[in-house]
Symmetry: C2
Subunit: 557 residues, 2 copies
Amino acid sequence: MSDIEIAQANEANEMLPITAVAKTVGLQADDLELYGQAKAKLSYPTLQRLADQPLGKLVLVTSINPTPAGEGKSTVTIGLGDALNLRRQKAVIALREPSLGPVMGMKGGATGGGYSQVVPMEDINLHFTGDMHALTTAVDTLAALIDNHLHQGNALNLDPRRILWHRVLDINDRALRHTVIGLGGPTSGVPRENQFDITVASELMAVLCLAENMHDLKARIGRIVIGFTYDRQPVTVSQLGVTGAIAVLLKDALKPNLVQTLAHTPTLIHGGPFANIAHGCNSVLATKTALQLGDIALTEAGFGADLGAEKFMDIKAPVLGKTPDAVVIVATVRALKYNGGQALKDLTTENRDALAQGFANLAKHVANMQQYGRPVLVAINRFTSDTDAEIADLVAACAQLGVQAIPADVWGQGGQGALALADALITALATTSRFVPLYDPKAPVKAKITTIVQKIYGGKDVVYDHQAELALKTIAANGWEDLPICMAKTQYSLSDDPKALGAPTGFTMHVRDVIPKLGAGFLVVMTGSVLTMPGLPKTPAAMNMDVSDDGVISGLF
Amino acid sequence: MSDIEIAQANEANEMLPITAVAKTVGLQADDLELYGQAKAKLSYPTLQRLADQPLGKLVLVTSINPTPAGEGKSTVTIGLGDALNLRRQKAVIALREPSLGPVMGMKGGATGGGYSQVVPMEDINLHFTGDMHALTTAVDTLAALIDNHLHQGNALNLDPRRILWHRVLDINDRALRHTVIGLGGPTSGVPRENQFDITVASELMAVLCLAENMHDLKARIGRIVIGFTYDRQPVTVSQLGVTGAIAVLLKDALKPNLVQTLAHTPTLIHGGPFANIAHGCNSVLATKTALQLGDIALTEAGFGADLGAEKFMDIKAPVLGKTPDAVVIVATVRALKYNGGQALKDLTTENRDALAQGFANLAKHVANMQQYGRPVLVAINRFTSDTDAEIADLVAACAQLGVQAIPADVWGQGGQGALALADALITALATTSRFVPLYDPKAPVKAKITTIVQKIYGGKDVVYDHQAELALKTIAANGWEDLPICMAKTQYSLSDDPKALGAPTGFTMHVRDVIPKLGAGFLVVMTGSVLTMPGLPKTPAAMNMDVSDDGVISGLF
């Protein structure tokens, strides 16, 4: 059965009203704002009331570098949450929201798979509770207000060539990467170059995900730098006078969404910034709520541990006021063999040499996570084509590094397939450990970048393009140096070369630009070419989708 | 008190759970898909079950040509609905959904005003149940799929210069009226000119509003002509192979939304196509549902009776399978004086001459509506500055035409202010009448246009630009001539000159183009310049908006 068929069979027969799921973690019906029977947002009074609750243990699920073979980080997170509940731990999951662009583009959902899914999967993968649409609207309303300001006399002296704020759509639309707008004469705006990104790449998504409450959201929105004047002075949303209007558009989007896994584990799905141009983690509010509602909160971060987990530790954790108590790194035999040079089409054939070769990628991520001082486990997301010998090799290789690797069949068995992993995690959480930050945010910007490149990526040094040096001068002149670093780098390699698989060393990172994101509160360091608007493939997933006369969706994975 | 203050006081103290409102018209809790406590969509099984219900009486509320003085068509519709329920009629209201663009731009909501409002007004005016966002996403996903088709080899031989499908945003953004997309080299699409419209101007909005059910929605989507090949052959969504995906995105948006007035009258708010480029009426599904649930269904149509009501009669009614049993034309003393030449700033001063002069506009709309054979009433939406003498003059002038004019104070008194109007309407609905169609859709295209221009607008004849003649040839060659006409004309005048107020006669209409909308099932006749993407004013309404730390919105009207 396909993912959607498994989900639909469950939704029809077994899915609980979300009020019943909420009750298992102490929430009453009036804590919820229902979106149908199976989805809800948590109200502002509820979030305020929960602020007094003690926090549970925090588990961060991350992975090796992504490959076309697939790793299944969300699927493992969901299956592990279900397994913890089978072991009578009160586990709550916190995930990112899917973006519609990839849903229409590539086959593959963001709601787990097989018997480790969150439901209702169609709704979550489509419009859900409207958060992405609210963000798109807020971003584009701000853009329209900026262009209207230019059109109506430009009192702020904004330089149309130095506007940083991009429009967005939650769609993979490469034709909008480079556009010219404002054509058509004096009644139709000021002509200028303009770029559309996918919604999740916008700073406003990062802002929503880092905001602690509405007050903080408004402060962050007000600080966003939309561009520079002809005199090179930064101009903020606050100066434009529309902070309130943008916050109004995000009033509901700021509230975390509650759904359930196939096994009824409460799951908060909220926010989903890109893990390259932004920090790649679900919202601080959702993670904090999971910590308040559960004894164990499980969350994940985008792409591999070099991007998502590093940013979780160095950008999100300080805002959250809580660091992970344990880290789980997801790996698959297939992906490691791909890292070891086996061709994609051959990955179902046993190849212990390729596995041994590709293991370097996992080993590097394990060492990276261990630097933060917390217990680290490896979850082997088992595929049917993995041989017993390959699994044994991988477990043994991890043991040699002093890290426990536990196979889990979450796709085929749900929580039942992750009981051993859950047991190992429970043991790890019982140990005492101390978090060690990677860098001091007050260190010089270049020093912070070098630390990440050397200690996480395994690189030798960093060179800066002319544009990057200019940007660093602007950052220094404006006193923005104390912000944490948000690296924008290919997800496919530890280096800035997407083809350098495994664990490359001795390389030089090239920094093209450094973009201040004052609302999010970090400096984006652009390396290589980072795509902020994906394209559709030759045969988009959209071609297979349909809906019956009575509203049943098919072809969505 | 402002509209939002009146609404918020009510929402906190008096608003009923939407399940209780639904019960008054025989709907049970499981007929509803809740969006919070006060909003719901009607489920597909419910819509199917209602198909057997007998239909109530249908009342169409329309108005004179809009002026800057304001007419208050929605406010009168809401107050009249409340008044009918005070008179123990079972009235259900069906309105259009507001567009966010104007909400952020101009002060003035689309949810009525004063004590004749629908609530929760903030939600309805902002994201509501996500219908507009689903439409925006569907329109832009189709656009991305079209540009991806060009990029991936263009198997359909689409001419990039002859693509009819525009992108949209639900935002007033004049800088997107004329753009060039696909720049940046071969990896970023095919360069071409591109236009963004506001969402409500898209054919897909008209399609949603005219679809009878999901089956019909898919058929209409499949028929949409997205452009022409280099050989000038039309290319449809069906040929592109993505009908199902676009319908998937509209699965929930197709379901009508149920809310309530301040007096708890059940109100369906669903769909809102432009009344120039499209037909300007709420959805067929919502109006039909109102007819199934109520003894009297009250609905309205966009702009003046020359645009919205004519299209209701000639485009929507044939699909609905039901014509209005009575027509109410809303007029204000202020707006008629403006039509009679009094300056906007002086409208609060009594001016019986200007009123007598401007009455011609109302008289023409009365005569127009009487052509359709149904009883016609005039509702005088009373403002505090109207003098008794002006009101008496207006009532007398209407009486001379044989039409009853009834003053109503719906803003200040809600339904209590419209009891006399309700009584007159109940009497009118008890009379026997026969609907007379304006034209036969099988008549030649030019004959149909001439009929509308002469019989509704009061014009003499029609001239066609070269582009329009070419378009008519294409329409003839493809056999699209039997479709009804959807005039795109300025709303400010009965003619195509927005400055010609009152009731101009003897003018010649200029047709620039004729655009086939096969999905909606009409031919759009472009006259004058019709703006499909509005701009923001010098001081947008957004500047006044704010939201408190606990989520209370202010400055929204």
